[in-house]
């Protein structure tokens, strides 16, 4: 399941909902990303996205993870709009019978999300706003999944 929303999410509640009444799950991995103030003067992080394509791309990414690993359940939640330092940005949850698939699929989902899902971050400080540059290391991280 995927969701794009402005409101915050509760990691515990999301995991509970995902695994409710399920006895086939032996491992749940969660990753959450939060707003980091790198320079000490961040006022807010503005998350822009491409409504329509964002949801389609997240569905494509999730489907690919489900084809590659034996997942019992998965969830991607990504926030958009204006976020303060320390706030949640993204949540990925993967559930499987065993931990290896859950760990790997969570990493894959984040690597693909970071390089394919149409979101853009803009850092707002007292001196103005700056669009965040994409990092080569994210491309490198995503590329390792295509070598298989």
């Amino acid at each position: 399941m995927i969701r794009v929303q402005t409101e915050d999410f509760d990691i515990g509640a999301e995991v509970a909902a995902l695994s409710k009444d399920r006895h086939d799950i032996g491992a749940v991995v969660t990753f959450s990303g939060t707003v980091r103030d790198k320079t000490g003067d961040l006022l807010a992080l503005e998350l822009e996205h491409y409504p329509g394509m964002t949801e389609k791309e997240l569905v494509r990414i999730e489907r690919e993870a489900q084809e590659r690993w034996p997942l019992e359940a998965s969830l991607i939640v990504h926030r958009v709009g204006r976020l303060a330092p320390g706030e949640n940005i993204v949540l990925v949850v993967t559930a499987s019978a065993h931990r290896q698939a859950a760990f790997e699929a969570a990493e894959f989902l984040m690597d693909y999300l970071k390089t394919r899902a149409p979101f853009w971050k803009r850092e707002e400080t007292a001196s103005g706003g700056d669009w965040v540059d994409a990092r080569d290391s994210d491309d490198t991280a995503a590329a390792r999944w295509t070598k298989k």
């Binding site: 996205h49 990504h78 970071k114 394919r116 149409p118 979101f119 853009w120 669009w131 540059d133 994409a134």
Partner: protein, 83 residues
């Protein structure tokens, strides 16, 4: 055809969304970019460095040499930075 712009591409073109009627010789993304660049200095600035331009045709990632024949919607944006 509907054109969409995001992040700093949107800031430079000064437009989030527009409908355009393209001349018949514009058949791929590169041709579309060339056509847009001739419109004014904002578009020229937005598409100055194509290494940092990504595009989607009908809401799917596409190469800059992709065809736009029959496309409803083309979007231009910088490399994505979500997550």
């Amino acid at each position: 055809m509907k054109l969409l712009y995001f992040a700093w591409v949107k800031q430079k073109t000064g437009t989030a969304e527009e409908d355009v009627t393209l001349p018949p010789e514009v058949t791929d993304v590169t041709g579309l970019i060339d056509w847009l660049r001739r419109r004014d200095e904002g578009y020229e600035a937005a598409f100055e460095d194509l290494k940092v331009i990504r595009c989607a045709v009908d809401q799917e990632h596409a190469d800059l040499n992709a065809s736009i024949a029959g496309a409803q919607e083309v979007a231009f944006f910088p490399p994505v930075t979500g997550g």
